[in-house]
Point group: C2
Chain length 389, copies 2
């Protein structure tokens, strides 16, 4: 009976965040104010239209974009698909085979789209990463060809929290463009994991397309955006009424958009303080885990790492068993990512990409959020001791 009332420790914020209570309240308020379809002509619809514009402007401002550069979608996966398939369908012709570049450690919402691009007749290159999880700028530069239309590199890896040098990648791409007097390749980044902790300034990052997801930012479910730099042309992947500048047909979710814009505002306000707070917990956690479990190693480099992520290889551990055992002990963690779990494959191709083959089925991800406290780490280690040793 005692156990039932014990508060659980959630360490899987990289998978999903709860909806912020203020966001819930905002959406309720909007739904009471209007339920109209913003495309109609009467008063209720104009109210909805204005609210949608307000959400678009606020989000644009937070990432230093223009309002016309923000497309509302149903989430990160859709935004990624729209970026990649949208560019592919826009530029492929009978004679021109578009070439796409990404890296081995990307989320399935990128890698599976690459498979589809190949199936549709496109050309793809998937670059390796170093032991720290970071792509080699030299290799990336060398892989850009005359038919390369898009490079997609996630801002932060979802499993190991590695931060890619997006700004440097953007610079290398701009160099190529200038030398070859072309607008290609475009640079897309999946920034879903970065939303809460890193700068989302698209001008400083130098990206052409950027994906963000409400469920990773304490925002509404089924909400996301795609930033599309003015001048970048893509083809829709869903067709119909022509909402969102013709790029995302379907009645707009006004309350969702306002909820998402509030989630952006809250994230922005909390960014620096929360990043610092979590990086301290992270440092404490990494040090203490590595000290407690002598064979354990950190997956991915420590320097360029999101402050909310610890991913550890415990040699010989059965990661699936460990996640279930931690669950019984009241701790929610994960091996690889939820999307991999769905495929009933307990191995992590991300960890394997780091050259740590023996670690691919023996690694655990602990990801933090607003409720995470330093004492959670102590509880985690107490439980791990019973499982790992």
């Amino acid at each position: 009976m005692k156990n039932k009332n014990k508060k659980r420790i959630f360490l899987d914020y990289a998978s999903v965040t709860p909806v912020d209570k203020k966001v819930v309240a905002k959406m309720e308020q909007i739904q009471k104010a209007t339920f109209a379809n913003p495309s109609a002509l009467y008063r209720e619809a104009l109210v909805a239209k204005d609210l949608l514009l307000e959400a678009r402007e606020k989000i644009a401002q937070k990432i230093h974009a223009q309002k016309g550069e923000i497309i509302f979608t149903s989430g990160g996966t859709e935004s990624n698909n729209l970026s990649l398939l949208g560019v592919f369908e826009k530029y492929k012709t009978k004679k021109f085979v578009p070439h796409f570049i990404t890296i081995t450690t990307e989320h399935p919402a990128i890698l599976e789209v690459f498979k589809e691009i190949e199936r549709r007749g496109g050309e793809i290159t998937i670059l390796p990463v170093g032991e720290d999880g970071i792509v080699s700028l030299k290799e990336l530069r060398e892989s850009v060809k005359n038919n390369t239309v898009l490079v997609s590199v996630s801002y932060v890896n979802n499993e190991i929290g590695t931060i890619q040098p997006i700004h440097s990648i953007a610079r290398a791409i701009k160099d190529f463009r200038q030398k070859n007097n072309t607008v290609f390749p475009y640079l897309h980044t999946d920034a879903c994991q970065a939303g809460l902790y890193l700068s989302l300034d698209v001008l400083k990052l130098g990206v052409d397309l950027m994906t963000l997801d409400g469920i990773k930012m304490y925002g509404p479910r089924s909400s996301g955006i795609l930033y599309i730099k003015s001048g970048v042309e893509i083809h829709p992947i869903v067709f119909g009424g022509g909402q969102e500048r013709g790029l995302r047909s379907g009645t707009e979710n006004v309350a969702g958009a306002l909820g998402l814009s509030l989630a952006f505002e809250i994230a922005d306000k909390m960014r620096d303080k929360e990043s610092l707070r979590l990086s301290k917990i992270q440092d404490y956690g990494i040090d203490k885990i590595l000290k407690t479990f002598p064979g354990a190693t950190l997956n991915g480099g420590r320097e360029y790492r999101l402050p909310n992520n610890i991913n550890i290889c415990f040699p010989g551990l059965d990661a699936e068993f460990a996640v279930i055992s931690l669950d019984v002990a009241g701790i929610s963690a994960s091996y690889s990512s939820s999307c991999r779990t769905l495929k009933e494959d307990s191995s992590s191709y991300v960890v394997e990409s780091l050259g740590k083959k023996d670690c691919s089925k023996s690694s655990l991800r602990f990801s933090f959020g607003r409720e995470t406290k330093k004492s959670d780490i102590d509880m985690l280690i107490t439980s791990l001791k019973k499982i790992v040793l």
Copy 2:
């Protein structure tokens, strides 16, 4: 000042319905119970997974389907796209050109997808309708060819409320399949407008694919389903983590799914009584409008018509001006559909398809919902008198 407090009359329920208060409460309750990603392995995720299954089973039951035949999407437009492009991408090869059939009066979420299918190398046929808005079964039968993979006919037209003979279309298609010993063509129906008022029994209807949308059923925004009959194979249009049997990648919206399933339950309970109630208001309205405005004609037949729709041609009227004038008078109505408004085209291709060219810019749609009362019709006619005459 008096005017400001006057209750407005909303007559555009075909465009959008408010979220039922019970649905809002249900979603809040679910969000409090769990925010986890249903694909994860720990307790919170298993709760989410069970809830998602519950929603799927409940919706399946309401339309006489199996739970594995329900795919959750972000709405009707996405469901339509997934049906049509999914079948196209599944069956096109270098040698085989798939052929698709639909009708002229379909929503842009069908017609624009047909354009895309043609762009991607498919073959399309768009059949006319009669003055009553109904497709000729004979013409439909004659247009099915050996390479026809899919026929898409909306259950109910969104502008004029015409109910198509889906069961008879299904029978004609089954005859073709039997004679030719093939599983093609599949039959898809966009049932978004029918959700609240007609039988959604997929077995009785005889459809292979059916689209439904939460926003037309007092359900959550950004929620919809696609029914896919067991054995019908389609290709995804969005790629990633492999959720929804690989057909709709992206983290599932558990609260949205439960909210939608409750919206289905409420609709089911209210269906007969509400249909009868609204058909009386409809009869009253049609009769009174036609009597009050001698030149006016009903667009679409009266017999096979959704009980919540009146669409009237007022010869010589500027429909856009009328909608704005009605708005000033406190009444929300529409010409054609919201999606058309977005394209800044005040003409209705649906009305034009009926052979009523002069009516395409002079027709108004009044659509009813749970708040609509008979007295609203009287108010409408009082306002129309000032605008039409």
